[in-house]
Amino acid sequence: MNRKHFISSIVPLGVSISPVSQLIKKAGLKTGELEILSPKIPKYLQPGATIGITCPSGYISVEDIQPAILKLQSWGFASTVGKTIGARDFSFAGDDELRTLDLQQMLDDDGIDAILFARGGYGAVRIIDRLDFTKFIKNPKWLVGFSDATVFHAHLNRNFGIASIHSKMCNSFPEDWTKAEPSQIDSIDSIRKCLVGDQMEYTAIPNENNRTGKAEGILIGGNLSILQNLAGTQSDINTAGKILFVEEVEEYLYNVDRMLWNLNRSGKLEKLQGLILGGFTKLKPDDPGEEFGRTIYEMVTRIVKDCAYPVCFDFPVGHQKNNYALKCGMKHKLSVNLNGCILKETR
């Protein structure tokens, strides 16, 4: 039997952390295998804290991050802008070397208390193996972002059990706040709440496709394509005993189905505590004559039909206005009933 499965099967839900770590020590497991049960929580931010802004992925201009800088200021935080902001190598925010150095410097700089990624795009996976996390592990700080930044959430969770924040990034901060939708403003403010240590709670509207039930476990997840791209690598997530959330944008329905099946085929769905589906937005139209003919709801329901855990659709996470900041790697309670869904951070 796989050792990780062994542990998750002998540890009943809700057991407090210290006896569990003793149990794991007795079982002789390696540190990297502790992540399911003992999340390391970076320090929450105090007023005056400094947030580093860097871009490990796609190009973004200096102008485009100004609304974020102003907002961080209004929250009482200073910001440090990395060299990748405004740098450009075709679609990337500078070449692999620059993006690595910029993030590495921020990981290691004790004067930086959290790192906010400016935007997603593509590029994180090209630098993840070049980063040295030695100093970061000893003194972890919040990494904040989503989409391509799913690479970091997965990598930190899998390798170090360090929590991180899945949320909107600089490119989602509006220039004119009077024109922003309340859910967008609220979503951005949820980043602040996460950073200062508020105990988070989220709600989702009822969906007739939901499967009701209660769950408790470490929250993990992100962009489906990225999770797929990490499969079989050293950043691949372990999902056993956890609450998994996934979201996707600009994909073909058939490919979403394929990725969901692959999650299933790689054993990532069978031992979940709960499953949360966020937005599947701007999906690409089927090719004419090749209509896929089923919804996200039908796809997921079909794949998890033999599992008993709660399933929540249309959760406010994804490439959309209502994309609330979630603490990956932290324990949450999920409750799905006919009135909707509540996800609550537990302490």
Partner: protein
């Protein structure tokens, strides 16, 4: 050389590595035709069926040919049952998948290989059929044919060397292919078993029981209609998964109908692949005729080939065993 030493060591360690080669076909044998994934109207497979018969084979068409359930050629159950029936039908000596699309991944875990393992037959196709090639060879060490499918026969194209290579391969002829060298090639000569297929599918299989095993193998990859950045991302997935580290050699097929993002990626697909594999010293060839286009030679997955990448020519010769 490093990889040669590995090959020898591997053989010493596992002297009894056995590959199961399904019996080759002879005139009068029956080829089953199924659609385990996307829709294929009968008209579009008509030429292929006629030509297979002209080649002297009997054909048996499954219920999924000409079938349709939304995007698929049938429900998961129908596609599974049709494929299973052909697998278990002892009168069927080879199964030609009429087309790819998407769908094998939804039924692969329900296929029962029990009879197939003792009575193997050639599974023929590419694209989505990569899942079958990878699964069958990784789990059962049974060879299969990565080859043109029904549509490749249409418009008189059945006469071309690529479709003809399927005919010869089915009859058991040892196949030798060659193509022009590419400026990005890494020269060298190596012998190894061939594995591979569509890059997207190989990436998607990573972390599943069907994933490809590449150690000491000659890996071939091809893809169609993908974004260049996504080719980069998938190549890095293979690399991060250790799939490129210990190859005997690498064959890059056609990466055709590539798409780019609004902000250009800034590299051609060949440059992308060149950069991902730059540190490896095994032989590599680009633009080998295996692809979603006409240029698509039949390759026997699991069989031994000698790959020679020279200054002007690339040769791929099928070896014994």
């Amino acid at each position: 050389m490093h990889f040669k030493r590995n090959t020898v060591r591997e053989q010493i360690k596992n002297p009894n590595i056995m590959i199961i080669i399904p019996p080759y076909l002879k005139a009068g044998d029956t080829i089953g035709i199924v659609c385990p994934a996307g829709v294929m109207p009968y008209e579009k497979a008509h030429t292929a069926i006629t030509v297979l018969q002209e080649w002297g084979f009997m054909t048996k068409t499954g219920s999924t040919l000409n079938g349709q359930y939304h995007y698929f050629s049938g429900t998961d159950e129908e596609r599974l049952n049709d494929f299973q029936k052909m697998m278990d039908d002892d009168s069927v000596k080879a199964i030609l998948c009429a087309r790819g699309g998407y769908g094998v991944g939804r039924i692969i875990d329900q296929i029962n290989f029990k009879n197939f393992k003792t009575n193997p037959k050639w599974i023929v196709g590419f694209s989505d059929i990569t899942i079958l090639h990878s699964h069958i060879f990784s789990k059962y060490r049974i060879a299969s044919m990565h080859a043109p499918m029904a549509a490749a026969f249409n418009n008189g194209e059945y006469k071309n060397n690529y479709v003809q290579s399927l005919h010869k391969s089915l009859l058991g002829e040892k196949m030798n292919y060659s193509c022009k060298s590419h400026v990005f090639n890494h020269s060298g000569s190596v012998t190894g078993r061939l594995v591979g297929g569509n890059l997207s599918l190989l990436a998607h299989l990573q972390g599943t029981v069907s994933e490809i095993k590449t150690k000491n193998k000659i890996l071939f990859i091809e893809d169609v209609g993908e974004y260049i950045y996504n080719i980069d991302r998938m190549m890095r997935q293979l690399k991060r998964g250790g799939k490129l580290d210990n190859l005997a050699g690498l064959i890059i097929g056609g990466f055709t109908q590539m798409r780019d993002t609004d902000i250009p990626f800034g590299q051609t697909v060949e440059e992308v692949i060149r950069d991902v594999i730059h540190e490896y010293d095994y032989p590599v060839c680009f633009n080998f005729p295996v692809s979603h286009e006409k240029e698509n030679y039949t390759l026997k997955v699991g069989l031994k080939y000698k790959l020679t990448v020279g200054k002007t020519r690339v040769e791929l010769l099928e070896k014994e065993g």
